[in-house]
Symmetry: C2
Subunit: 679 residues, 2 copies
C-alpha cells in the first residue's frame, strides 16, 4: 500500500494523480487513434480504478493465473481502455503497441475485454450485466473453495472479487438477479464500485432510471456506502476498506463521477460515452488536466510508480507459495487435488461409476432421470462438479442427494439454488467456471434457455466449460403447453458457435453425453433431455449404441440390409420413431438406415470419411425426425429430403397426445418415406 | 361493489367464502382430472383474487374487448386454473366443459393462459416475469392513450392494470427491469398483488430469495402495502384500495398466503405447487374447507353471486358507451381515430410519406439510418406508433425528433426510454400491443436480441404485433468486436415461429420492410439493419428492386443472361457482394442469378410456383452469402451448394477489415462459384 497522497480535485501533479492521468490519456489516446471506443468511462472512473488497483487489488502482473489473486471485473466492458491501461501500466504482458492497436484486427486490445485473449482479463464483458453476475460467480467459487480447501493455519484460498459497474449494468435484469442471489448467499468478499455518472447513452439517467440504487441493494442484503466523491481518493479508499471489512454481506460503493471528466466540452455529456473525443478536444482535455505529455507517452515516474505492482505481486505470490508448500506437506492429498482442480484436470477413475451405469436401464426411462443418475455417479468422484437449477431441481434432476445445499449457514453444501433466475444462473456459472477449481452445471427447462441465452453465448465466446441441463426438451413435455414447449430452441442453439449441444436418445446416450460434457474443457455443453420416458435403443433393435458413438455426433444405430433406400436421421426421443419406421419399412421391402444424431457440432467435427460413411452422398432419400422446428434440417437432408418436424407452436395436451397430433408417429415417418420413394 | 362480508379464517359459509371455495375447488378438481397442473396457487390466492375481481375489477364478461376494461394479469400463469375459474364463474364464454377439459388437446384451458385462445385472458403467461412486465406495458399504454384521447369531461380511457404475481416473477430479471421502469415512469394505475407464500419449487424461498421485497420496490419508487393476511378479506380490500388511491406511483400489495391452503397434508409445502393433490387429498381438502359439493359442482347461489359480474359489467360498459357517444359528438375526429386505433386499422395514406422515400437514396447509407427516416415518415401519419430503444436510440435511429420523451412530467411525449433493459423492453412492448390502440417498436443491437428472446417468443406465440429494430446486424459493425457481433442470431431467429425477420439490403428494401412491419397484424416483425453504409442495389446493376418484392421474401434482383449456371442468394449487406460477384462471373462467361432474400418466412409463405421461379429446382449450383452463421442455409442451397458465411465468432476490427478477414469479398464469392462449377 502506498501512503495517502495529497488530494486535489480530479487531477494533480503528485505521482498518484499523474498515474491516474496516465491511465486517462492512454485510454483517450487509444480511442482517438482507433477513432472508435469509449473515452468517457476511463476519464471518470480512473481515480477509483487506480485507488482500487494500487491499494487493494492483490495480483501478480507476471502471473495472471496465480490462483489466490483477487479477481477484478470491469463490468462496463465498453470502458475497456481503462482496464487495458491498468494492465499495461502495472506490468502485464500487454505492450504499448497493443494499446496503440486498440480495436484493430489481431490486437490483444479488442473493443471489449475478452477472456483468454488478454492477460489479466478475468471475464469477457461488454454485454451489460454479465460482468456483474460473473463476479458473483467468482466470489461464490472462492467461498466454496475456501470452505473445501482451507485448513486451520492455511488460508490457501482467500481473495476478493472487485468490480467496477455502471448504470447500464444495474438496469439489466441479469445483474438484479445476481445481486439478489449474492445477498441471499452472503458473499461477503464482493466489493463493487458503482460508477454513478448519471449519464446514459440516451441522456440523463433520470429518463429511465430514477430508482434509489443504494436502497435497492440494501434490500438485497448488501452493505452500501454512499455517496463517495469520485475524485476524492481518500474517500474512495475508505469506502473500499469498509467494503473489505464487511465480510458477511457483499458491498456496494456508490461513487459519484463525471463521465468524460476533464474534457472541457464533453464532460458530463452522453457524447463522451461512446465516441472518440476528437483531436482538438483531446488536446483541450490534456490542458485541462495539466497533462503535458504526448499521445501514448508514459512518463518514467508513472511507469515506475505503477510498475510497483510487479514487485508487490511477486512478493504476495511468493508468500502464498510458501504457505502452499507448508500446506502441501501437511495436507498432501488436498494440495494435489487443489492443483488438479485449478488446472481443470480430471482425476483418474472419475468416470468409473458413470461407466458402470451403461447398459443398466432396461425399462423406459426419461433422459432427465438418467441425467440425474449420471450426476450422482460422477459427483462423488469429481467434487469440483457443482451446480443446481433455477428452481426446477426436481424436474431437472439436478439435485445431488446427501450433499446439502450451499447456504450462508452451510458453505459446504454442494447444491446451488439459483432461484427463478435463469440468466443469472448462466452468468454466475460462467463466473464460477472462470474462477477455476470448479466445474459448474445449471438446470432449467429447455424453453428457458431463451432467458439465459445472453450468458450462454458469452460463455461460449469465452470458451468457459459449463454444463447446461435443459430438460423438457420438446412438445413431449405435454400439458404445460406451448408456453413451455420448445420449438425453435434446439435448432437455434445449434447456431451458437462453440456450444456443444447434445440431445441423447436413450439412457446410454445420456450417460455418454455426460462424459463428453465433463471432458469438454473449451466451452459449454448443453444437454437436451426428455421429460417423458424413452425405451433403450437396444430394446428397439438398434445394433450400435452410445459407447464410442455419441462423441462422433451421429452414428448408424441400425443399418438396413444392403444399400439403404432411405436414411432416417433422428435425435433424442424421436430415434425410437425412426427405428420403428425402419422396421415397418423393412417389412415392406424398403431398406432404411437409422442414424442417431445426438449432436450436430460433434458430427460436423468428424473427418469427412466418417461423415460420408454415416450419410453417404449418394443416398439423397433422407428424412430427419425431430420434435422441434423442421427448418435447418436441410443441412443433412438437402433439397430432396424431408423433415418430420414442427412448423409452428405446440399445444397443451398430454405428451403422447401432443406427439401424435403433430405427426410424431411411426406411421407418419413411414408414410413420408413411402412418399419420397414413390411407393 | 358488494358490501364487506363477515370474515373468518380462510373459509366460511357466507356467499363470499363459498364463492372463493368454488374457485378453489374448480381449480383443484380440474387439476385432479387432468392429473397435471398447479393446485397450490389457486388454493392460496383465491381470496385475494376474488376480492379483486368482485370489488375492484372493472370488466364486462360479455365483452372481453371493451376498450376501457381494467386489465388483469395472472403473472404466475401456472396458476391458470385460478383464472379459468374466475372467468367461468363471472360469466365469460368458458363453459364448464372447458374446465373439465383442462390441459387437454383442443381445449380453451391450456396449461398456461394463452391470449387469443381464451376469452378474458389478456396476456399469455407462464414464463415467469413476462406477465409482470406485460402489465407495465398495459398500464403504460393506458397512460399514453388517456393523455392522447381524453378531453375535459370525457375520460374515455380510464382503467387500471391489476396483477397477481409470485416469488418466481420477482426473482426474474425481466420483472426487476420492468419494476424499475414503472417506478421511473410513475405508472400510478398499476396495482399488483404479490402472492407471498414463501414456497418455491425447491423448497422454502429462503434458500434463494432472502431479500426484502417491499424495500426493494420502495427503492424503485413504488407504493407498498405490507403485510396483508391473505385470508383477511377486509385487509386485502383496504390494501387494494390504497393501491388504487395512490395515483402517482405503481402499487404493490404484499399478501401473505399459504400455498395449497386447506390441504391438510400439503398446505405450505412445495408438493402442492405443481402436481395434482391426489383423490384422497382433494377429499380431505374438501372436508377441511367445508366444501360439501361434488367435483366440478358449482352451487346455484355461488353461480348467482359470481354471475353478478355480468350485469355490473354490462352497466359499466353502457355507461362508458354513453360517455363515448357524447365524446364522439364533440370530438368526432378523435373518436374515429380512437376506434380505428383500438381496432388496429391503418388510416388511409399512412404510408404516403414512406412511399415518397423510395428511390431517393442515391448515396450509400446504412439501413439503420434509412430505418430512422422511415420512422420519421410514418410517425406523423400514424400516431399510434410508439416506441424507443434500450438506451441505444442514437445507434438504433429509433428516436422520433420533435415528439418529446414520455416521462411522468410529459405523458404526451412519444419517445420511450427503456433504459438498458432489453428483456423488459420486449415484454413491456408486448403489453402495449396487447392493450390495443398502439403499435410498439423497440430497438437494440441485434446481438442483444438474445437478452429479450424470452419476450420475443411469447409475443410471437401470442400473435402480438410489435416491431423490433435490431441494428448492427453483423461483423460489419466492426470495432466493438465479438461481444457485440451477432453470428448465430439471424439464423436462430428464423427458427422462431411467427416472427417475421427481415434483413433489407438497401434503402428501398428497408422502406419496404417497414411497410410490411406496420401492416403485420398477427405477430412481431424484426428488422435486422446495418451499422455500415450500403449502396443501393440499383446502383450496382440490380434490375429489380424492393417494391412488390420484399413482401415476397426473396426475388431475382438481377438475372443472368440465359439459364443461370449458378444462383447467388444473399441478404442485407451481402447482396452487394452477390451483385459484384455476378458481374465478375459474367465477364468470365458464367451466368449467375442474384437473389435477394430479405425474409425466409415471407418467401416460404409464397406459392410454390413463385418459389420455383426464383430458385428453380433444376439449378443446384447455389451459393448463399450472409455475414452470419453458415449453418442453416442448406435449406436453400442444399447438399450441393455452398455458403459464404461465418463458422465461429467475429473479431474486433474496423468493419471493412472484419468483413474482408472473414471472406466477405466479391473475390471470395466469385472463387466459390468457380470452384463449384469446376472452372
Amino acid at each position: 500500500m502506498t501512503t495517502t497522497p495529497p488530494l486535489t480535485v480530479g487531477t494533480g501533479t503528485d505521482i498518484t494523480w499523474r498515474t491516474i492521468n496516465a491511465i486517462r490519456f492512454l485510454s483517450v489516446d487509444a480511442v482517438q487513434a482507433a477513432k472508435s471506443g469509449h473515452p468517457g468511462a476511463p476519464l471518470g472512473a480512473a481515480p477509483m480504478a487506480w485507488v482500487l488497483w494500487d491499494r487493494f487489488l492483490k495480483h501478480n502482473p507476471c502471473n495472471p493465473d496465480w490462483p489466490d489473486r483477487d479477481r477484478f471485473v470491469l463490468s462496463n466492458g465498453h470502458g475497456s481502455m481503462l482496464l487495458y491501461s491498468l494492465l499495461h501500466l502495472t506490468g502485464y504482458d500487454l505492450p504499448l503497441d497493443e494499446i496503440r492497436n486498440f480495436r484493430q484486427l489481431g490486437s490483444k486490445t479488442p473493443g471489449h475485454p475478452e477472456r483468454g485473449l488478454t492477460p489479466g482479463v478475468e471475464v469477457t464483458t461488454g454485454p451489460l450485466g454479465q460482468g456483474f453476475a460473473n463476479g458473483v460467480g467468482l466470489a461464490l467459487a472462492e467461498k466454496i473453495l475456501a470452505n473445501e480447501f482451507n485448513r486451520p493455519g492455511y488460508e490457501i484460498v482467500d481473495h476478493r472479487t472487485f468490480a467496477i459497474i455502471s448504470d447500464g449494468d444495474l438496469e439489466e435484469g441479469v445483474a438484479s438477479e445476481a445481486a439478489s442471489l449474492a445477498g441471499t448467499l452472503g458473499l461477503g468478499k464482493i466489493v463493487y464500485l458503482y460508477d454513478d455518472n448519471e449519464i446514459s447513452i440516451e441522456g440523463d439517467t433520470d429518463i429511465a432510471f430514477r430508482e434509489d440504487v443504494a436502497a435497492r441493494f440494501r434490500a438485497y442484503g448488501w452493505h452500501v456506502t454512499e455517496p463517495v466523491d469520485g475524485n476524492d481518493l481518500a474517500a474512495i479508499a475508505t469506502a473500499i476498506q469498509q467494503g473489505v471489512d464487511e465480510t458477511a454481506k457483499p458491498s456496494l460503493v456508490v461513487v459519484h463521477t463525471t463521465i468524460g471528466y476533464g474534457s472541457p466540452n464533453k464532460a458530463g455529456t452522453a457524447s463522451s460515452h461512446g465516441e472518440a473525443l476528437g483531436e482538438d478536444e483531446v488536446e483541450l482535455t490534456r490542458q485541462a488536466l495539466g497533462w503535458e505529455h504526448d499521445a501514448f507517452e508514459v512518463p518514467d515516474d508513472v511507469r515506475t510508480n505503477a510498475g510497483e505492482a510487479v514487485g508487490r505481486g511477486a512478493a504476495a505470490e511468493s508468500e502464498w507459495e510458501a504457505r502452499f508448500s507448508a500446506y502441501a506437506s501437511e495436507h498432501p492429498d488436498l494440495a494435489t487435488r487443489f492443483k488438479q482442480d485449478m488446472a481443470g484436470e480430471l482425476p483418474d477413475g472419475w468416470d468409473e461409476n458413470l461407466n458402470a451405469l451403461l447398459g443398466t436401464f432396461d425399462d423406459p426411462i426419461a433422459t432427465r432421470a438418467v441425467s440425474g443418475k449420471a450426476l450422482h455417479a460422477i459427483a462423488p468422484k469429481l467434487p469440483r462438479l457443482i451446480g443446481g437449477s433455477a428452481d426446477l431441481a426436481g424436474s431437472n434432476n439436478t439435485m445431488i442427494s446427501g450433499r446439502g445445499s450451499f447456504q450462508p449457514e452451510s458453505p459446504g453444501g454442494r447444491n446451488l439454488h439459483f432461484g427463478v433466475r435463469e440468466h443469472a444462473m448462466g452468468a454466475v456459472a460462467n463466473g464460477i467456471s472462470a474462477h477455476g477449481g470448479l466445474l459448474p452445471y445449471g438446470g432449467t427447462f429447455l424453453i428457458f434457455s431463451d432467458y439465459m441465452r445472453g450468458a450462454v453465448r458469452v460463455g461460449a465466446l469465452s470458451e468457459l466449460p459449463a454444463i447446461w441441463v435443459w430438460t423438457h426438451d420438446s412438445i413431449g413435455l405435454g400439458e404445460d403447453g406451448p408456453t413451455h414447449q420448445p420449438i425453435g430452441q434446439l435448432m437455434s442453439l445449434r447456431m451458437l458457435p462453440n456450444l456443444t449441444l447434445i440431445r441423447p436418445a436413450d439412457a446410454d446416450e445420456t450417460i455418454a453425453a455426460w462424459k463428453i460434457a465433463i471432458e469438454n474443457r473449451h466451452g459449454p455443453t448443453a444437454l437436451a433431455l426428455t421429460r417423458q420416458g424413452l425405451p433403450s435403443l437396444a430394446s428397439l433393435g438398434a445394433t450400435a449404441g452410445a459407447v464410442g458413438n455419441v462423441e462422433r455426433g451421429a452414428y448408424i444405430a441400425k443399418d438396413s440390409e444392403g444399400e439403404p433406400d432411405v436414411i432416417l436421421i433422428a435425435t433424442g426421443s424421436e430415434v425410437q420413431l425412426a427405428l420403428g419406421a425402419a422396421a415397418a419399412l423393412a417389412d415392406e421391402g424398403v431398406n432404411a438406415r437409422v442414424v442417431s444424431m445426438p449432436s450436430w457440432s460433434l458430427y460436423d467435427a468428424q473427418p469427412a470419411d466418417y461423415r460420408e460413411s454415416v450419410l453417404p452422398s449418394s443416398v439423397r432419400a433422407r428424412i430427419a425426425v425431430e420434435a422441434g422446428i423442421a427448418t435447418g434440417w436441410e443441412r443433412y437432408v438437402g433439397l430432396d429430403g424431408a423433415v418430420v418436424g414442427m412448423t409452428g407452436f405446440g399445444a397443451s395436451a398430454p405428451g403422447a397426445a401432443a406427439m401424435t397430433h403433430f405427426g410424431f408417429t411411426i406411421e407418419n415417418v413411414t408414410a413420408k418415406a413411402r412418399e419420397m420413394l414413390g411407393r
